[in-house]
């Protein structure tokens, strides 16, 4: 069995809402797989289905070779879940939380004490071990949450938006922990709203929107489609926008209009591609107020993949079609 997760046309409907609308994915053993999508895309639903908390409306899925419906008990013995909303007990102390879970996982009193001591230390929570979790910072709570998932060694770990709402430093900690987890051999399914996070941590990424996978591949493959970076231009004169789009197209680049008619975003294969474009614009007498180069936002990714933004608003009509190649690149 080479797949940690295998799903086929997985569907979860809540009344008329199709939270998951036919998802087929394969996560290899030992890899970090990133599920990237905006709020409401279906990420948590996917995680809850695969961790046996809910049952699918349609389709099939197996985790480590066990069917999630027929063999739910076997699945549970081999996974750990760190949910989107802190899955630790607020009223208990950090130590009590780990003790409780350790005992439920079959460790004896002494084993449990030695194990939680080790984890509190490694996750840098030892100083707050005897305080109630309700008083923890977001970062500490998250670290405890992940430590709680590692009391015994799972074959597959679900991390549902582990850094949403964290400050940059706490986020860096969670990233470091995730990398170490991956190195220890645990397969990780990570969900996130941040392209950068998926790029940094995941070997392969599926982009999900409205319950469907709209693109899938390695970070490099996705970036080749959407550009590793985005050039944002602010024109001096809004009437130049269409002409600027044509110039970009002449260089093989797809310009996207923004809500502000003076603004254009242009996904680039790499930073060097910006120079010829800027030169060409200057040559044609198109004046710029400002330009910036950076990582594409999730919104830009969605625009590139679907022709609409992450929130699902209608595409802004541009001088040319966005790079709307929506077929899966793999």
């Amino acid at each position: 069995m080479k797949h940690a997760i295998e799903t086929q046309d997985l569907v979860k409907a809540y009344g008329a809402t199709r939270a998951l609308d036919g998802v087929s994915l394969q996560v290899r053993r030992g890899e970090v797989f990133g599920l990237l999508g905006p709020n409401g895309a279906g990420k948590t639903t996917f995680v809850r289905l695969l961790s046996t908390l809910i049952r699918p409306t349609g389709g099939r899925a197996s985790v480590l070779g066990h069917d999630i419906v027929a063999d739910a008990g076997k699945v549970r013995a081999r996974i750990s879940l760190t949910g989107q909303f802190a899955s630790v007990d607020e009223e208990l102390t950090g130590r009590e939380n780990l003790m409780l879970l350790a005992r439920l996982l079959g460790l004896s009193g002494r084993e449990a004490r030695s194990r939680y001591g080790e984890l509190l230390d490694a996750f840098d929570i030892a100083g707050a071990a005897n305080r109630q979790v309700s008083g923890y910072s977001g970062g500490m709570r998250r670290r405890l949450d992940i430590a709680a998932s590692m009391i015994t060694r799972p074959d597959l770990l679900f991390l549902d938006e582990p850094t949403t709402g964290l400050d940059p430093r706490a986020r860096a900690d969670v990233w470091a922990i995730t990398r170490r987890l991956a190195r220890s051999g645990t397969t990780i399914l990570l969900t996130t709203q941040y392209l950068e996070e998926a790029d940094q941590l995941a070997e392969r990424i599926a982009v999900i929107d409205h319950g469907r996978v709209i693109a899938q591949g390695t970070a490099a493959q996705l970036k080749a489609r959407i550009g590793s970076g985005v050039l944002r231009l602010t024109l001096h004169d809004r009437d130049d926008a269409a002409r600027a789009g044509t110039i970009a197209a002449g260089l093989g680049l797809a310009a996207q209009m923004q809500e502000d008619p003076r603004m254009l975003t242009i996904p680039l294969p790499d930073a060097d591609a910006a120079l010829p474009l800027l030169a060409a614009l200057a040559e044609q007498g198109i004046a710029l107020v400002d330009f910036a180069y950076g990582q594409p936002t999730l919104d830009a990714v969605f625009f590139a993949l679907t022709g609409h933004g992450a929130q699902g608003e209608a595409p802004v009509s541009g001088p040319q079609e966005p790079a709307a190649a929506t077929e899966v690149s793999e």
Binding site: Y14, S51, I54, L104, D124, M150, T152, A176
Partner: protein
């Protein structure tokens, strides 16, 4: 970087494997321990469980004792078994309240994704309840003794009373458990539970003998299960146990368990979105 990566590596590399078979008894005990921890961390609940019954016993005895039966001593003798019932009833509300709170929180998702005995969280909570009922009943007994209460039946009667109280409260508690599994917020559980508890507690023979009540109220008191358990406890503690009264007192909790027990289990096992 506050995290020491070498320690992290060591900790992550050294975890044991999770057990493959759930262990019903051990898992239940862990959840009972969790219930006890929760009480320790929850001063308001401790307040309710400790202060309210003591306050009721003291206040009612000295306030109404003389007027109702002529002397505080005689009234205490009459009142105490009923206060025990009232105490465990009020305590039983927390079962539903805590359960509802738990389910709302992410931690329950974690439990449900673990290889544990599925009813363990519920079973453990019930075991925790037994500890809570027993503790609050012992407390009321203690205060009663200090104020001059005497159980004619002695130590044996005392133990039988504790058992009856637990069976009664655990049985009735299934109603609140079922309610907790059906409504959205812990607050709603509280409100609904009080709505049930208030009339059955005060419309009973706990505080006064029903002879002076209007006929319709007497009729209610006569069929009220709280009256039945109070009557049974008075008999047991006064060394005058009536098997018929005990049987009647146990009828309701057993019937409630038969209906609401399976219902709660079903509600609990049912998938939550």
């Amino acid at each position: 970087m506050s995290l020491r990566e070498s320690r992290l590596d060591r900790a992550l590399g050294s975890g044991a494997r999770a057990p493959s078979a759930p262990r019903p008894f051990a898992d239940t005990l862990v959840f009972a321990w969790r219930a006890v921890l929760k009480i320790r961390h929850n001063p308001e609940q401790a307040f309710d469980v400790v202060v309210t019954p003591v306050m009721f016993t003291v206040m009612f005895t000295y306030l109404f004792g003389g007027a109702l039966v002529g002397s505080t001593e005689a009234y205490l003798q009459f009142l105490l078994p009923g206060i025990l019932v009232q105490t465990v009833m009020f305590t039983s509300i927390y079962t539903g309240f805590t359960l509802n709170q738990d389910i709302k929180r992410g931690v329950f998702d974690r439990f449900r994704a673990m290889p544990i005995w599925r009813p363990a969280p519920l079973a453990g909570a019930i075991l925790g309840d037994v500890l809570r009922y027993t503790a609050s009943a012992l407390l009321v007994f203690g205060v009663g003794f200090l104020m001059g209460y005497r159980a004619e039946g002695g130590a044996g009667a005392f133990i039988v009373a504790l058992i009856l109280l637990n069976v009664f409260a655990l049985g009735i508690g299934w109603i609140f458990t079922a309610v907790a599994l059906m409504v959205r917020t812990p607050g709603t559980v509280m409100t609904l539970s009080w709505l049930v508890l208030m009339p059955v507690t005060f419309g009973s023979n706990i505080y006064v003998a029903p002879e002076t009540m209007p006929g319709w109220l007497q009729a209610f008191v006569a069929v009220n299960p709280v009256s039945h358990i109070t009557t049974a406890l008075r008999g047991v503690l006064d060394a005058d146990p009536a098997l018929a009264a005990i049987g009647l007192a146990l009828l309701t909790p057993l019937a409630v368990t038969a209906i609401f027990g399976p219902l709660s289990m079903w509600l609990y096992a049912r998938e939550r979105g």
